[in-house]
């Protein structure tokens, strides 16, 4: 059995599967480093997001491997040997699974090295998320083996792969349906979201049951198929009757705040704390500029740690920063511009109707832009006369103008906002 596995690993579809999974893994990681960089939970979640492509590849590889005997016209020859029919099938499946998983894990291990350099939070059960991902690859290879056995077409492998991609995409993008937990693909939720342990355990049991069921069906071992089919159904029931994928709770340990000890306070959640120095360099000069102005925020904090009951718009003392996609592959800040743009919530005129629709006079927008440019200390263009005139005022006069703006913006006093804009 071990020798047969070694031969399959060297000469079957396995080397191709390993290369394809490694290439796909590298490509997936390179496309969106902001999804995983610096965070173990992000890396594990991203592996599960990537399952949309990776499972399709594994199914295609399994189908190609399984159809080999028919393609080579040796299926009858192999059937005539005294060896039990399930053994070569299981060896072929195992070879594809081991090779595919190894290829992928090598790619993700490279990303893991980058994460390990900077990561500031190691909890959140990310290890189990990744383990279930590997089980999903084994299940996908088993689906492929069954397809390859049942469908006598050379194009079975690519068609099965494409069909898997489309099917998984539909389940993933379906509005929070509980059936989405049956799919190994994660919907791309925040890295600090906590998938309940119960769901992870049930997913693992479901994928193991599905794998054995499919292999038993492919090997025509009907008793084993019936048994594992029963197990799979028994697991499906609690998954599909439980809560859906909407509103996952935040991991309390991941969103514990880590703050600066000097200067205006900047606080990031523990999972994003590796960005603290970079974020501080951007946020503290702005907070220093606002220091002491009535109605202006006194600190900047990670939006991941914002209590669900607290509105971004209605909190005057804190600027909430969105750091979900703000990391480069090496753990630096991805976009200073986007981070500075988060400070626009300070100057935003609160003029929504009860439905949250904003209908604001263009002149108010111009004053809003003027106040934002002053706050962010943007360079004035030659034709930006209002900002040039505002800057020409004494420092106390500039600060009192900004305080008057914040007061009017918070009350949505349109006439006062227009008047403030026309003063400059």
């Amino acid at each position: 059995m071990r020798r047969a596995l070694r031969v399959e690993l060297r000469r079957g579809t396995a080397p191709l599967a390993a290369a394809a999974m490694f290439g796909a893994g590298v490509w997936m990681l390179a496309v969106h480093p902001d999804d995983w960089a610096g965070r173990w939970a992000g890396l594990a979640n991203y592996l599960r997001v990537s399952m949309l492509i990776l499972c399709a590849l594994m199914i295609a590889a399994g189908a190609w491997q399984s159809g080999r005997e028919r393609r080579r016209d040796i299926d009858e020859l192999i059937a005539s040997t005294p060896r039990p029919g399930w053994q070569p099938l299981v060896v072929a499946w195992l070879a594809v699974t081991v090779a595919g998983a190894a290829g992928l894990l090598v790619a993700f291990a490279g990303a893991g090295v980058l994460v390990a350099r900077v990561a500031t939070y190691t909890g959140g059960g990310w290890w189990w998320t990744m383990t279930v991902g590997v089980l999903a690859l084994a299940a996908a290879a088993a689906v492929g083996v069954l397809v390859g056995r049942l469908v006598p077409l050379r194009v079975a492998a690519p068609i099965a792969g494409l069909a898997t991609y489309l099917g998984l995409a539909i389940v993933t993008y379906w509005d929070g349906t509980t059936a989405a937990w049956l799919s190994p693909v994660y919907g791309g939720w925040a890295v600090y979201s906590l998938v309940p342990d119960r769901v992870t355990a049930l997913q693992a049991a479901w994928l193991v049951g599905l794998t054995i069921l499919l292999l038993a069906a492919a090997a025509r071992q009907w008793r084993a198929a019936l048994l594992t089919g029963g197990l799979a159904v028994a697991v499906i029931v609690p998954i599909t009757t439980g809560p859906g994928t909407h509103r996952l709770p935040a991991d309390p340990a991941a969103v514990t705040l880590v703050c600066t000890s000097s200067g205006p306070q900047v606080c990031l959640s523990r999972i994003n704390a590796f960005l603290l120095d970079d974020v501080t360099k951007v946020a503290q000069p702005i907070l220093t500029r606002l220091d002491g102005i009535p109605g202006a925020p006194r600190r900047a904090a990670d939006q991941a740690a914002r209590p669900a009951s607290q509105s971004i718009e209605r909190d005057d003392s804190t600027v909430w920063l969105n750091l979900d996609y703000q990391s480069t592959a090496l753990g630096g800040l991805a976009s200073r511009k986007n981070l500075r743009a988060d400070f626009r919530q300070v100057t935003r005129a609160r003029c929504e109707d009860p439905f949250g629709t904003r209908s604001i006079d263009q002149r108010v927008y111009r004053t809003d832009t003027l106040a934002t440019d002053w706050m962010l200390n943007e360079a004035a263009t030659p034709d930006d006369m209002p900002l040039t005139r505002l800057r020409a005022l004494s420092e106390p006069a500039q600060r009192s103008w900004f305080a008057a703006y914040l007061d009017a913006a918070h009350r949505c006093d349109t006439s006062a906002l227009i008047h403030l804009g026309e003063q400059q």
């Binding site: 492509i53 050379r154 690519p158």
Partner: protein
Amino acid sequence: MTGRLLTLHVRSRGASMFVVGVGVITLLAWAAGTWLASRPYFDGPAARVPVVALAPLLAALLLGPTLAGADEDLEHSTPLPWRAWRAGHLLVAAFVTAMALSLAGLRESHTFGAHALVRNALGCIGLVVGGAVLLGARLAWLPAFVYVCAVYAAAPRQPGTVVAAWAWPIQPSTTATSWLTAATIFAVGAAGYVHGGARASAGRRYRPRR
């Protein structure tokens, strides 16, 4: 006589399975396109890019096995005008595929709808036919599958003439360059196939012993 030959040809190439497959793909493409366009969190008919890229690819993959008979060398030795037969086979298949798939995108046909489906059907069929000429009918699916999947997964979303030329499967149908590339691929693939047919499988080719 020609009628009987035609029946035999259609049967030996598995045309019925191809037609059924294209019908199923059309139905699925219509359902998926309608579902994607109706999701409030996507941007309407423009969200049908996956359907426009993958449905013609699936249909073209099904065409691959029909491009050669059980033994190409044996077929070539028969006194039939094979170039005309191959041209007819390919043109009918392309017409059936394009027309069927276009039915799936009639709603707002200009925004990743019927027009783009027809263009991609031509391009993908061209790739599959070219694959049959170079690799044989058994592996004809490989170039189209690899190319379209790579473009779908990795093409930049920014428009541009060069991008429109190589990433034609995911361009809006209003981009003339994408039509030009797809039509060129179809023409080159078709010319190669009509001229020489699918490459005979190496394992089945007769090799005289020395």
